[in-house]
């Protein structure tokens, strides 16, 4: 990411004395009969007046660390010094100068934006002229000024986070702790959030920012990489990726062969990681790989149907390399590289004319809620075996579109056909051809893994031996066997997600609907998930996925961007990126393209 404007803007200020210093901190929790080592001898420092990224998979101990620093939890052993104070002993003094925004900030949804702020000002004992002046500043700062009277419950995800941040900043803290503030926030709002935090750092505030998004980690001055309660690595993100110099490559093959190529590359022993990145595959080789390894071992490459170029390593590559080089442990991460396509099923059946048949067909779809038009005439098609992504900021209408496709919401006008059927009107049996995975892993939380699988198998009409075999196959394939009797809500997030997918595809559906499937899960789980989805697409399943997560969009064959109820752009990720290349930014990321597109649309279509 070197040369990118925001990276340049973040040249690390001169190091000063650390604001937080942790020495050999231990913290255990009892989870049922087991004890979990949330932090296992952690020592780390957080520098002053800079953004320190706290990165790691779910359950790495990020939230525990934040709560220890604020004094909300006391460590079992070890010392935590915050701004020169002992966090465990001088808790009040620490809390007076630390601002903490938890993952779910306690906004009062039935109070307006201003009332929420008032409340937090009261709690912080801020009054008089100081209070008025601070409010004005925060409103201007967060851009919430025009929404003063709106109920907090009606704000979009991004605006809620900004309000949460404003409430945290009512009394300016010296240290600000943000726990995954950008989960569920669209790219435009995410950029604004970053801009706000950057300005805070400019005022001398130190920030600790926990995130599962690796592109965010890349923008921090320093990164602490946590795994299973231990510090794996620390330092500026550039130092992480620098170690991988010469090990990262882009492989470009025939468009249609992309997934076969991916499987082939992944099977090579020296390949640590390979993912689809737009038109290319992004490949990370192990330290042992000799120069020219890919060219000499990959048959497709040897046949000249693909070519290799070296690329700059990203923080993400370093993260994956560090995580995968860890011995697989109790967290149950599979040691193998994840699932591969089950048998190279005939790829992408196309009709005689060479045109793919449309499995999902959306024509002039409109949905109104009262006087508000949430979806305003959307058309698109998804071919068999294609992964189509619906992107858009919160509240743009993508969830509404999604619901209409699944038959959960009737359209006001137009048609949404899946396999030629309107799921809203069709016989119930037709729903047996679709799989659906909702945003929040909607499973029966108090039932066991096996009970969930059994229920969904029966729901889709599987009986007797077929049902038994299918359940066993699912337990095996998704690595859930050891957890079959565990109550599903106690599972780690990654396993919940596997279970949700296992339940959704129990009946081998022809079409799969995924609503923000990897929101909140860590990068490794996300890769594993997408490998499965890729394999299914390869076998001919059409996939419709909503996301506002740009990395996820890169996995899609085509994406449609929905904004203000309209489909403002559609095409392959490459096409979209190419359309938004500028002289200043010749190779935009998908996020750049997205932000540019939204900006252009707003200026061409003022509200």
């Amino acid at each position: 990411m070197t040369g990118r404007p925001e990276a340049a803007a973040l040249e690390a200020p001169a190091a000063a004395a650390p604001v937080v210093a942790l020495r050999d901190v231990h913290k255990r929790f009892a989870a049922g009969s087991r004890t979990v080592e949330a932090l296992d001898g952690l020592s780390a420092e957080i520098g002053a007046a800079r953004i320190t990224g706290l990165v790691g998979p779910d359950g790495a101990g990020k939230t525990t660390l934040m709560r220890l620093v604020t004094g909300l939890l006391a460590p079992d052993s070890g010392s935590i010094r915050v701004l020169g104070l002992d966090a465990a002993a001088e808790t009040r003094a620490v809390q007076a100068s630390v601002g903490y925004m938890p993952q779910r900030f306690g906004l009062y949804e039935d109070l307006s934006v201003a009332e929420n702020l008032e409340l937090y000002a009261d709690l912080q004992g801020l009054a008089g002229a100081e209070r008025r002046e601070r409010f004005e500043r925060l409103m201007a700062f967060t851009g919430l000024g025009p929404f003063r009277t709106r109920l907090a419950g009606r704000l979009s995800g991004g605006m809620k986070q900004k309000l949460g941040l404003a409430c945290t900043l009512v009394r300016p803290p010296r240290l600000l702790l943000l726990d995954e503030p950008s989960v569920g926030v669209d790219p435009v709002s995410r950029r604004e959030l970053w801009e706000i935090v950057r300005r805070l750092v400019g005022e001398g505030i130190s920030v600790l920012w926990a995130t599962a998004y690796l592109d965010e980690a890349e923008r921090c001055h320093e990164v602490l990489l946590l795994n299973e309660g231990r510090l794996l690595a620390a330092g500026p993100p550039s130092r992480f990726s620098a170690r991988l110099e010469g090990r990262t490559f882009a492989v470009r093959g025939e468009e249609a062969e992309r997934r076969t190529l991916l499987d082939e590359v992944r099977a090579l022993p020296q390949v640590v990681d390979a993912v689809v990145k737009g038109r290319d595959l992004r490949v990370l080789l192990s330290k042992q790989a000799e120069p020219g390894y890919l060219e000499s071992h990959c048959r497709t490459l040897q046949a000249g149907r693909a070519r290799v170029t070296g690329v700059d390593p990203l923080f993400e590559d370093a993260f994956v390399a560090l995580m995968k080089e860890q011995p697989a442990t109790s967290a149950g991460r599979p040691a193998r590289g994840g699932p591969s396509s089950r048998g190279a099923a005939p790829a992408r059946t196309k009709t005689a004319a060479g045109r793919p048949e449309a499995v999902i067909r959306v024509e002039g779809l409109i949905r109104r809620f009262g006087s508000f038009t949430a979806v305003d005439g959307i058309d698109f098609q998804v071919a068999r075996g294609e992964i189509f992504g619906l992107l858009g900021p919160n509240g743009a209408g993508k969830s509404t579109t999604f619901k209409m496709l699944c038959g959960l919401l009737p359209p006001s006008d137009g048609r949404a056909l899946v396999l030629g059927i309107d799921l809203r009107r069709a016989a119930a049996v037709a729903r047996g051809h679709i799989g659906y995975m909702a945003q929040k892993f909607s499973l029966y939380g108090n039932m066991s893994v096996l009970q969930n699988l059994r229920f969904f198998a029966s729901a889709y009409g599987l009986t007797g031996k077929a049902r038994q075999e299918r359940i066993e196959a699912a337990l095996e394939e998704f690595g859930l066997f050891a957890y079959r009797d565990a109550v599903s809500e106690t599972l780690p997030l990654g396993f919940k997600q596997r279970l949700a997918l296992a339940c959704a595809i129990m009946h081998d559906p022809g079409v799969l609907f995924l609503d923000e499937p990897t929101s909140g899960v860590d990068p490794l789980v996300r890769r594993e998930f997408w490998t499965r989805i890729d394999a299914m697409a390869e076998a001919g399943v059409s996939v419709l996925v909503t996301t506002h997560f740009m990395e996820e969009a890169e996995y899609c064959d085509r994406i449609g961007i929905i904004y203000r109820g309209k489909l403002v752009a559609a095409g392959t990720p490459e096409e979209l990126k190419a359309a938004h290349a500028t002289p200043q930014l010749p190779e935009p990321t998908l996020e750049d393209a997205f932000v540019d597109l939204i900006g252009r649309y707003d200026s061409e279509h003022p509200r």
Partner: protein
């Protein structure tokens, strides 16, 4: 389809059983309420705090007062000596009743003039006051006829002989316990069903359920069967406790009672599922359930007769399933209500059940967002 339905019903049972909140609602409160209502809730008035203001002190006065002292209904808590003290005992509720015997009471009686006894009662609780006055006037009436007999006078010409049918001792427990069958079945079934759909909407599993091949009426059956089983079990336990523990006679036909219970529970389930379907969270659903339960109980005849309500309200009670079941359950317990009379109350409940259940099934799919 059957296997699918069985799986759904099994899942619903699991969901209710594994949810701590629902499990608690089914077991704890009903038993506690049953005991509280059975023992504590009664219309009988006992140990009325009574103060005596006897200005006479004569033999006749003492005889009259002794009758009050001897009755279990009254308990003498104070003897007053000045009129001003009446206010001092009534105002802070130290006594509810003051018996004021005038200075000339004994003299008047012996002179065969009408003698006056004044009863001062705390009217702040009007129902209790009326009952106390009833008891007190019976004691005074007995005193009168005994006095007349003892002094060789002829007894009053008409003498009242009361015989109470169905409940010879007018024990209010006989009236209340059958009512509890209706009340607790309503509360438990309502809470269990009100939580089901709302719980799933809150977690997001309801949408997951709607995209599976289940039809709305299958989901309806899946949700209704566990509630029905739980409601019937609950009703059975309360009926058994009523008969074997509280000794309330069950004179009518058990199958008729169960026909009533069955339709009653179905109607409640229908209403509960409708409430649950329109709610977004479990909290809303519980609030909704209570918004229904409280007026349903008050307007059912559980405590106050429907016949005493204004005509408009009486019409409103026609859509209240508890109104019908209350008649059936009290009727079968105490009087052995005939099949014809039971049937007259069964069909309105069947109509309420049919309408509300179809409404709930429709709402599953049509409740937006």
């Amino acid at each position: 389809m059957w296997a699918r339905l069985v799986a759904l019903i099994a899942k619903e049972f699991l969901a209710v059983w594994k949810d701590r909140r629902s499990r608690a609602v089914i077991i704890g409160p009903p038993l506690i309420q049953l005991l509280i209502f059975g023992y504590a809730a009664t219309f009988d008035v006992n140990h009325v705090a009574t103060a005596i203001y006897d200005e006479d002190g004569g033999l006749a006065a003492r005889d009259l007062i002794a009758r009050f002292e001897g009755s279990p209904s009254f308990e003498i808590v104070a003897r007053l000596t000045r009129e001003a003290e009446i206010r001092q005992v009534i105002d802070p509720k130290r006594a509810i009743l003051v018996i004021h015997v005038g200075q000339t009471f004994s003299r008047d009686l012996l002179a065969r003039r009408p003698a006056r006894v004044q009863l001062i009662v705390d009217g702040r609780e009007s129902n209790t006051a009326l009952i106390i006055l009833g008891y007190a006037s019976r004691i005074v009436a007995d005193f009168n006829s005994d006095w007349l007999k003892a002094h060789g006078e002829i007894a009053p010409p008409a003498h009242l002989v009361v015989r109470s049918w169905f409940n010879p001792n007018l024990e209010s427990r006989w009236f209340i316990v059958p009512g509890i069958v209706a009340l607790l079945t309503l509360v438990v079934t309502m809470v269990v069903t009100a939580l089901t759909v709302a719980r799933e909407r809150e977690v997001g599993t309801f949408e997951q359920l709607l995209v599976t091949p289940f039809r709305p009426f299958e989901i309806l059956i899946g949700k209704a069967v566990p509630a029905l089983v739980i409601g019937l079990a609950e009703g059975t336990v309360i009926i058994a406790v009523g008969v074997f523990w509280f000794g309330v006679p069950l004179r009518g036909d058990l199958p008729l009672l169960y026909a009533g219970l069955f339709l009653y529970i179905l109607a409640v389930i229908g209403i509960g599922l409708m409430i649950s379907s329109v709610c977004r969270t479990q909290q809303q659903a519980i609030l909704g359930a209570f918004l229904f339960v409280v007026p349903a109980v008050i307007l059912s005849g559980f405590a106050t007769p429907i016949a005493n309500m204004p005509p408009l309200i009486q019409d409103l009670t026609l859509v209240n399933p508890m109104r019908y079941f209350l008649i059936i359950v009290r009727g079968t317990f105490l009087e052995g209500l005939s099949a014809g009379l039971v049937l007259e109350r069964l069909w309105p409940m069947a109509v309420i059940a049919a309408v509300s259940l179809s409404g709930a099934a429709w709402l599953f799919r049509h409740r937006l967002q």
